[in-house]
Amino acid sequence: MDIAYTDEEKDFRAEVRAWMSDHAPKHRLKSLDTEDGFAEHKVWEKTLHAGNWGMVTWPTEYGGRGLDLIKWLIFEEEYYRADCPYRVSQNGIFLLGPTLMDYGSASQKERFLPPMAAGDEIWAQAWSEPGAGSDMAAIRTTAIKDGDHYVINGQKIWSSRAAFADWCFGLFRTDPESTRHRGLSFILAPLDAEGVTVRPIRQLDGGVGFAEIFFDDVRVPIENLIGPEHEGWSIAMATAGFERGLMLRSPARFQAAAARLVQLCREYPQKVSTAAKAAATQAWLDAEAYCVSTYQTASKIRAGGKIGPEASCSKVFWSELDRALHRTAVSIAGARAELVSGDDAIDGGRWLDGYMFSLAGPIYAGANEIQRNIIAERCLGLPR
């Protein structure tokens, strides 16, 4: 066991730190859930890509640097240390990208990965439907083969980024006679195709981070099928495993937030009750625990190891620590917490903003109730 960074890892960190220090936006970008903010975030992706930082773990031919997972964690630490923006391309680079690496054909990889890493094509998720949320196997949107096309009909909901994205990926029922998780396929669809209607859903903060997508006889070529037909469920589940979890919410993000919370406590000691101080300490401890656990997991995966159902722990852990962390910060902000802009707002109002976003954490990417069921059933062997 070796818990010290190698010289090479230290050099890499120094390189990232120097670049981010030079290039990180000087001001917070507008929310990526607004049209202007989305555009600003795309510009930032292009800046990143110009530095060859789009997705450092990907092979060089797809716009990456071919680095290992430990270096990915280092990259993320420096990225969030420099307070860089959230990644507008995250659906692509963190979710679809790894799926294509494992299940995509050579031509699919060539076609889709480079513009994904470059931030030229932004991807939306298209999993949930009005009657299929936590119960995703209840998907009803069909994609029926007709010659060399699939014809898609139905409706997706809670499609993140869909308001402004170029493409979407998700599960569709290719066997109309099938039920539950059989007969589903993993398909990519352009959002500018004829018959696609995107209806943005207004979030509580006013942004449009997600949308409904209506498909009305939308024809997509069969080349857009990932993996075998009718086998989409297992592909979707595989990408729901560890690597996705690790990538989607790397520890650095929560550690950076915990460090900011500690800083808030240092800055306003008279606003910090005993309870808030204890909660801030706990938030920092939990962010550290998530980091340390992730380094262990990343080391195992780098060495060819596999991760089991305990990956469900990760989702529950980071989402609940994030909520508690921001709740604590809001309580410290006190009467000023409500201000989301203006000179009197603490840190530009980002704490309440972060608290609102953190409340979605225990809901999206598989609600925590479902994750705890999975842990109980698959890690502890309790009956369904």
């Binding site: 119960d135 809670w158 207004r202 509580l204 309870a275 009467a335 989301v340 000179d343 409340l359 705890r372």
Partner: protein, 341 residues
């Protein structure tokens, strides 16, 4: 010792609640939110006599106390009332009554409304066009005209869509010295106790919406309501609200009684109500799932008000420090009943 509301108190509260439930509806909230205008509700509130509940009878009010108005404040919370009922009738009215009879009558009649900027709640809300801002700090109480470019100069936006920070000048002094200190303290007490009551109501409102949603939303072929994860979460929110509510009643009565431990009681009430409401909001959004994160259900109005109100009139540190000073600094007996009633 008879810790029950009188029939009069219950009747007044039930009347106010029925009125608010009927008029201050979610539909109205959505309308006010999209149109940024006002409507006739303030006039109706005045007609109901709600603005003069704490105004002395000889100034045109009902001459009732904090214990009475706390029930109305809870009802205002339950409907997420955006209008400044609590500020005017609960905080300003009893203070102004001692300073300026004419002004007091105007507030009770709904002819003159104020926004308040107190050290513990500095954000003066101009959204409902106050005629004046009542500025209260420990050394001075003043009245100022809000500038017409409401909120722009200060540039502050609240998470609550029905709050816009007023811009105002220094105003004209109406009290200073000991008088200002007294008003400052009285405002802090009233603001905190009615803030606590409002938070209870807001929590109840959020919980009710979550309960209604859980009965109707289906997953895995059945409503989510019977799942223990949902049931137990909402039951826990209910318990927290149930145990915070009597603390508010005690604190409000203690203000009326000029009880020597009123401040301690108020801090307990405010902390517990804030925690319960915050928990109820988290439980409610979790129960709604992704839908709770949207503008398409009304829950967000309640949650935002909870987040905006929880830190006003004394935040977590203010109230908790006051309690911990009593518990851990010094040697006061904390064995019952020495701190309870």
């Amino acid at each position: 010792m008879d810790f029950r509301y009188t029939e009069d108190q219950t009747e007044l509260a039930e009347g106010a609640r029925a009125f608010l439930m009927g008029e201050a509806t979610p539909e109205r909230l959505r309308k006010l939110d999209s149109e940024t205008t006002t409507d006739g509700l303030w006039g109706q509130i005045a007609e109901m006599g709600l603005l003069g509940v704490m105004t002395p009878e000889d100034q045109g009010g009902l001459g009732l106390g904090a214990a009475d108005f706390a029930l109305i404040a809870e009802a205002a919370g339950e409907v997420a009332l955006p209008d400044p009922l609590i500020e005017n009738a609960g905080v300003a009215a009893p203070l102004i009554a001692q300073i300026d009879e004419k002004f007091s009558r105007a507030i009770a009649a709904g002819e003159h409304s104020v926004a308040i900027s107190h050290t513990l709640a500095p954000f003066a809300n101009s959204r409902f066009s106050p005629d004046a801002v009542l500025i209260i700090d420990e050394n001075k109480v003043s009245l100022a005209k809000p500038n017409s470019d409401d909120g722009i100069a200060r540039g502050a936006r609240s998470v609550d869509p029905f709050r816009t920070q007023a811009d105002f000048d220094d105003g004209e002094g109406i009290a200073d010295g000991n008088r200002a200190q007294e008003i400052y303290n009285a405002a802090a007490q009233l603001g905190a106790v009615f803030g606590a009551a409002e938070l209870i109501g807001l929590g109840v409102g959020a919980l009710n919406q979550a309960t209604a949603y859980a009965k109707q939303r289906e997953q895995f072929g059945k409503p989510i309501g019977p799942f223990q994860a949902v049931k137990h979460l909402l039951a826990t929110a209910f318990i927290k609200l149930e145990y915070a509510r009597p603390l508010v009643a005690r604190a409000a009565q203690a203000i009326d009684d000029r009880h020597e431990d009123a401040d301690l009681f108020i801090s307990q009430a405010k902390l517990s109500a804030g925690d319960a409401a915050t928990f109820a909001a988290e439980a409610a959004i979790q129960t709604h799932g992704a839908m709770g994160y949207t503008y398409e259900v009304d829950l967000h109005y309640w949650m935002k008000k909870i987040w905006a109100r929880a830190g006003q009139w004394g935040d977590d540190a203010y109230h908790r420090n006051r309690i911990e000073a009593c518990l851990f600094d010094g040697n006061r007996s904390v064995a019952p009943p020495d701190l309870s009633f």
